[in-house]
């Protein structure tokens, strides 16, 4: 088998697995096919490690940046209950960043390197957080519908192949049930409240609908690349599938509140069971994710500020005799 299983690195389709030991690769793929998890010290293809680091790291960055739009309203939350709940929610985002960075660390990238890549703009995060939370109602819409989108993504990825990421996602999914309930409760309160409150939440929904439709990304290109990532259970569901899931679960709930979604083409095709909608502007998506959005500059400037302000604290407690070891699980 060894002799016959040479993988030609020049064949385009095989670029991802070029140079990998074919026997180890086969065992690795068989393990995943059996539904078993890959743990940090297991043999893994270089591309698997690379893709996972990128994915988990970006997910972590999305959480810490995601703390900022809702954080906008922490000091102005109306009433005790909302004040404490919003603090807890944003705290959870910070906690999720911690869990996700920890999972990525098991693959060999340090938290310092990940932070540096975030604040220099090298690593990406979820585009949706490059938009401004203009009003209290924006914070509520984000808490409901963006978290809803994130949950669909997370539930899918929790069935992935990499142990530490799955364990982090299990913890995260549990906390997200509070987020979803909190978000929905807030939107319902506004939508069923005073005329001013109804207006505020409708305007917020109108504002946030395009970024929400962008949330799952453009339709996946069918490629060898995607196929391999799905075989390795790194990519668990197609962008379109997740978008359909989201629309199916949440558009009826939005309409239930008498709110209007700013897309006249939005409707469920009863024959196919699929939702039809105006194709989002993917050029706009590209423009924003590459730095041209309303809040990109601010988000990263804030993270740089926070890191710099805290540097003396971290330095003060640093002990030269300590040694960093890659986490095990």
């Amino acid at each position: 088998m060894y002799g016959n299983a040479y993988i030609d690195p020049n064949e385009k389709a095989n670029a991802m697995i070029a140079g990998e030991d074919p026997i180890k690769l086969a065992e690795f793929e068989a393990r995943i096919a059996r539904g078993e998890k890959i743990e940090p010290k297991d043999w893994m293809p270089k591309e698997y490690r690379k893709q996972l680091i990128r994915m988990i790291e970006q997910h972590g960055h999305s959480e810490i940046i995601g703390a900022l739009p809702e954080g906008t309203w922490i000091t102005r939350a109306p009433g005790f209950k909302r004040k404490m709940a919003l603090m807890a929610k944003v705290q959870d985002e910070v906690g999720h960043a911690q869990l996700l960075y920890s999972a990525a660390e098991t693959l060999g990238k340090s938290r310092e390197d990940m932070t540096n890549d975030l604040i220099t703009g090298k690593s990406k995060y979820s585009n949706v957080f490059n938009y401004p939370a203009f009003t209290w109602a924006d914070a509520c819409i984000i808490a409901w519908l963006i978290d809803a989108g994130a949950i669909i993504n997370q539930v899918a990825n929790a069935k992935g192949s990499y142990g530490p990421y799955c364990r982090a996602l299990d913890r995260i999914c549990t906390e997200e049930s509070f987020h979803l309930k909190y978000g929905h409760d807030n939107v319902v309160t506004l939508a069923t409240g005073t005329p001013i409150q109804r207006k505020m939440v409708q305007e917020a929904l109108t504002r946030w609908w395009p970024p929400i439709m962008h949330f799952f990304g453009p339709s996946d290109k069918i490629s060898q690349h995607t196929e391999i990532l799905m075989r390795w259970k790194v990519k668990m569901a197609s962008n379109d599938d997740m978008r359909q899931q989201f629309l199916n679960m949440y558009v009826p709930k939005i309409w239930d509140l008498g709110l209007t979604v700013p897309d006249t083409a939005l409707k469920k095709n009863e024959e196919t069971g699929l939702w039809e909608y105006t194709e989002p502007d993917w050029d706009e998506f590209k423009r924003v994710i590459n730095g041209g959005g309303p809040c990109n500059a601010e988000r990263l400037a804030v993270r740089r500020m926070a890191e710099e302000r805290g540097r003396w604290v971290r330095k003060a407690l640093y002990n030269a005799s300590e040694k960093y070891v890659t986490p095990l699980a």
Binding site: F80, A88, V90, V94, Q197, R309, R314, K315
Partner: protein
């Protein structure tokens, strides 16, 4: 028992907790490292929850609903010590304030656990446990930073110097001190202050820091009589901005 004296006591405690909880919540998402960000936010939430519990006691004594009282008063109606409304500054000042206030707060609730006013004693007994963590956190940080680098030591000493007279202002006495003491509701600010000084001294020493010399002590009073710095009005405006859009609405 003098109900005005009791209400005044509850108002100042509730306002202290609300204002410091609000200030500390400003760090959420912006802390020096993720793990500490998370810890500091938990404590800020605790403080706000404790504030709500005390406003609830006030409500049972005839004051309005907690949300209404907390989110519709003006700055010149607040009874918090000026110490707590000061801006956060850097993490050095925020931690030092956390230490000086939380130690006093824990001692205050320890005393109140034996208050003759049972509803307050009940709340105090419940809150005491939470404060153990807050004080453990504060003590650990002050000691570690005081003994850290030259920079951290200098920052913590400066923070202590700047905070000191404001901290002493936490113990501003009420005209009803004797009533409160005589009726067994509370041991009074003097007793609390003495206990506080005894408690913080060993921690400050362990942190290689120095309390300002007593001939420079000049407590900053006024907060208890609703006299505040220029920092409180903007804080209150910000805190109540959304609520005031419609104070009668459900949020």
């Amino acid at each position: 028992m003098n109900s005005i004296a009791l209400k005044e006591l509850l108002y100042k405690m509730a306002d202290d907790l609300l204002i410091i909880g609000h200030r500390n919540s400003e760090w959420t998402g912006l802390g020096p490292i993720l793990e500490e960000d998370i810890a500091f936010s938990s404590m800020a939430q605790d403080k706000i929850g404790q504030s709500q519990a005390l406003f609830q006691l006030l409500h049972e004594l005839g004051e309005q609903e907690p949300d209404t009282v907390a989110f519709t008063r003006n700055a010149n109606q607040f009874h918090n010590a000026q110490f707590l409304e000061l801006p956060n500054g850097d993490y050095d000042f925020s931690l030092m304030r956390h230490f000086l206030y939380d130690v006093a707060d824990q001692l205050r609730f320890e005393f109140l656990a034996n208050s003759s006013y049972e509803p307050l004693a009940k709340v105090a007994r419940k809150i005491k446990g939470e404060l153990k963590y807050h004080v453990f956190h504060a003590n650990t940080w002050v000691v570690k930073l005081g003994n850290g680098t030259e920079e951290s030591k200098a920052r913590m000493q400066t923070a202590l110097n700047e905070a000191w007279n404001y901290a002493l202002g936490m113990f501003e006495t009420s005209e009803f001190e004797n009533d409160l003491i005589a009726s067994g509701v509370f041991v009074g600010e003097e007793a609390l202050k003495k206990q506080w000084l005894d408690t913080i001294a060993p921690i400050i020493e362990k942190a290689s820091l120095q309390i300002p010399s007593s001939n420079t002590w000049a407590p900053v009073f006024g907060g208890r009589k609703c006299k505040h710095t220029e920092h409180l009005a903007p804080l209150v405006d910000e805190m109540s901005e959304v609520f005031r859009v419609d104070p009668s609405a459900e949020w």
